[in-house]
């Protein structure tokens, strides 16, 4: 494999780790951690898309050429995406706490009042 593809590949592995957590774990908290890992993998991928090997920070001044900058747009997007992720995580942790109050357990197999 070409060395420059390695970060993307590792990012995919990272995503799959999170997916494994969501699909296979029985503890609600571990599912949430899996979800958060997935989210970070997506954000990391978005940053990687705009990254340039050996690029410099995207600050413009008249004496510099704009050839070797990294792409600043994904960084702005990732900031937004992280904030959204924070909101989701805060909400899901809040729901998990309430679930623990109601059911007295974090085990997803014992939380089954619904049929679907």
């Amino acid at each position: 494999m070409n060395n420059s593809y390695l970060p993307y590949f590792l990012c995919l592995v990272f995503f799959c780790v999170g997916l494994y957590g969501v699909l296979r774990k029985r503890n609600i908290i571990k599912i949430i951690i899996g979800l958060v890992i997935c989210e970070y993998a997506a954000n990391l991928f978005l940053v990687l898309v705009g990254y340039k090997m050996g690029g410099r920070s995207p600050l413009y001044s008249p004496d510099q050429s704009i050839l070797d900058m990294v792409d600043p747009l994904p960084q702005a997007l990732v900031l937004t995406s992280i904030v959204i992720g924070l909101a989701t995580t805060a909400l899901v942790v809040g729901i998990a706490i309430r679930i623990y109050e109601k059911y007295g357990t974090f085990d997803i197999t014992k939380i089954s009042k619904l049929k679907g």
Binding site: I31, E39, A42, V92, I95
Partner: protein, 498 residues
């Protein structure tokens, strides 16, 4: 067009003001929320009749399209804006009385307006990352609203919904990242231009798969439907009506149309997959619905089934099929909202959702009974009501294109729908009145008003197919979808005008 951003500004600022003032004055909350949604509905009507046939563009901060954020209004957006804001208005009207039994009503209105802001923003946005942001605003508000009752079942449903739906959002985000890496732009129309010039390569197909996974989960097409029958019934009735009526269509079907038809382009393989999944949704949804005894759960399964009709119609790709799909989208949001509001009215008066414990309610609640009958006949496709016309269009379009098998399945699905709604009528409204409910009265005035408005639309909206009327509402939306990749010229056409 300076009016366009108000579709998000109004509900966002409304939510903010209601949260500040709401805890002190309940009266103010009701009035203010209703005024906000009603003004939004009027705005969407105004947008429909103001220069009805040309796209409108708003440049945020004055930046020109390929670089800045744009808000775009075209035929499809106008159609969806009317649907969303009309349903939202009737639902706030219904909530005035219904939400009395919950504590802290102002939080409900705040979250509801956030969800509305998210949906409206998603519809008007012409920038793909903004689409993602608004999608998440609407989704996060809807997770909180599903858990609004904070009982055990509601929390469980909300958790399930949240995990699956966040995963869908992540898929959409990854798809956006991949598309951005290929096209180096975020403006949807500009992205279309770049894709047109550079051609479709495997990375675009991979992002298309991610997008399909995302919107499939959001719109609950059959292999991705597991969260819907839990999440939709668990919410309070007005929220069930919003989720089933407009949220799955805005976040799911609209996004599917915009991304696949207008941006990436469709081919026959994709359409075949869509049609197959549509028919599968029709059958699986309706078969699972028949055996349910919980009225809201039954309605939720029917949402899957009716989304199947929409997907089938759109997936045909012929003018008639697309028209039928879009018309069914509007009709379904009207009658499914009405049915959920009916179930809410029943729950409000007798406090149960179990069909076997009801009976004879039409005697004491005539208005709920009759509106529910109208909605039931509409959803099952009985002639004078709107559901008949849209289903007929879809079935004729199937025949026209030679998919006789799919047409037959659609008819069978419709018959099964009729049978399951006859069951609802029989158990809930006909038969002997349970002696426990002798004292039951009709629901309060605002709930009645909301139900009557929706029932009237159910009866009248079949008339939208009349040649002159459909010029404004249905045909422009159909034109956008059939135009397909022509969407990429939208920036161009407006820049030239000036």
């Amino acid at each position: 067009m300076v009016i366009i951003p108000f579709f998000t500004i109004l509900p966002l600022s409304g939510a903010f003001i209601i949260y500040l003032v709401g805890r002190h004055s309940k009266f103010f909350t009701d009035i203010f929320a209703n005024i906000t949604t009603f003004v939004l509905f009027l705005l969407s009507l105004f947008i429909l009749f103001f220069k009805p046939f040309e796209p409108l563009l708003y440049k945020v901060g004055g930046w020109l399209p390929p670089w800045g954020i744009t808000l775009v209004i075209d035929g499809l957006t106008r159609f969806m804006l009317i649907t969303v804001n009309f349903i939202a208005w009737t639902i706030t009207l219904f909530s005035v009385n219904y939400m009395e039994k919950f504590t802290s009503k102002y939080k409900f209105y705040t979250l509801f307006l956030f969800m509305l802001a998210g949906m409206n923003g998603l519809l008007i946005s012409g920038d793909i990352f903004n689409v993602f942001v608004f999608l998440e605003i609407a989704s996060v508000a809807s997770y909180a609203l599903v858990a609004y009752g904070v009982e055990a079942e509601e929390l469980e449903a909300s958790f399930k919904y949240l995990v699956m739906s966040s995963f869908a959002s992540l898929c959409i985000l990854l798809g956006i990242a991949l598309l951005y890496s290929y096209t180096s732009t975020l403006n949807i129309a500009d992205m279309g231009v770049v894709l047109w010039e550079k051609g479709i390569v495997p990375v675009v197909i991979f992002s298309a798969v991610l997008f399909f996974l995302g919107v499939g989960l959001k719109s609950a097409i059959v292999p991705f439907h597991a969260w819907l029958p839990d999440a939709h019934p668990s919410a309070p009735a007005p929220i069930s009506a919003t989720l089933s009526g407009v949220l799955i269509k805005t976040l799911g079907v609209y996004l599917l149309l915009r991304i696949f038809y207008n941006l990436l382009g469709v081919n026959q393989i994709f359409l075949d997959i869509l049609m197959f999944l549509g028919v599968l949704s029709i059958m699986v949804g309706v078969i699972l619905a028949i055996t349910q005894m919980d009225i809201k759960r039954l309605l939720a399964y029917h949402s899957i089934s009716q989304i199947g009709y929409i997907i089938l119609g759109i997936g045909l790709g012929t003018p008639l099929g697309v028209l039928g799909g879009l018309f069914h989208l509007f009709n379904h949001s009207v009658f499914k909202s009405l049915l959920f509001l009916n179930s809410g009215a029943i729950e409000y008066t007798i406090g149960t959702r179990d069909l076997s414990k009801m009976g004879g309610l039409r005697k004491n609640m005539p208005l709920t009974g009759w509106t529910s009958l109208i909605a039931s006949l509409s959803i099952s496709g009985i002639p004078p009501f709107n559901g008949f016309f849209s289903k007929l269009l879809i079935i004729i379009a199937c025949m026209e294109k030679g998919y006789i098998g799919y047409a037959i399945w659609a008819i069978i699905g419709s018959i099964l729908t009729l049978s399951s709604f006859m069951k609802v009528q029989k158990f809930a409204f006909l038969g002997k009145l349970n002696s426990l409910y002798k004292e039951v009265k009709e629901v309060p005035i605002f709930m009645r008003t909301a139900m009557v408005i929706l029932a009237i639309i159910c009866i009248l909206s079949g008339g939208m197919l009349i040649p002159y009327l459909n010029n404004y509402f249905l045909l422009p939306a159909q034109k956008v979808i059939l135009g397909g990749l022509d969407y990429k010229n939208i920036n161009q056409s407006i820049n030239n005008e000036k």
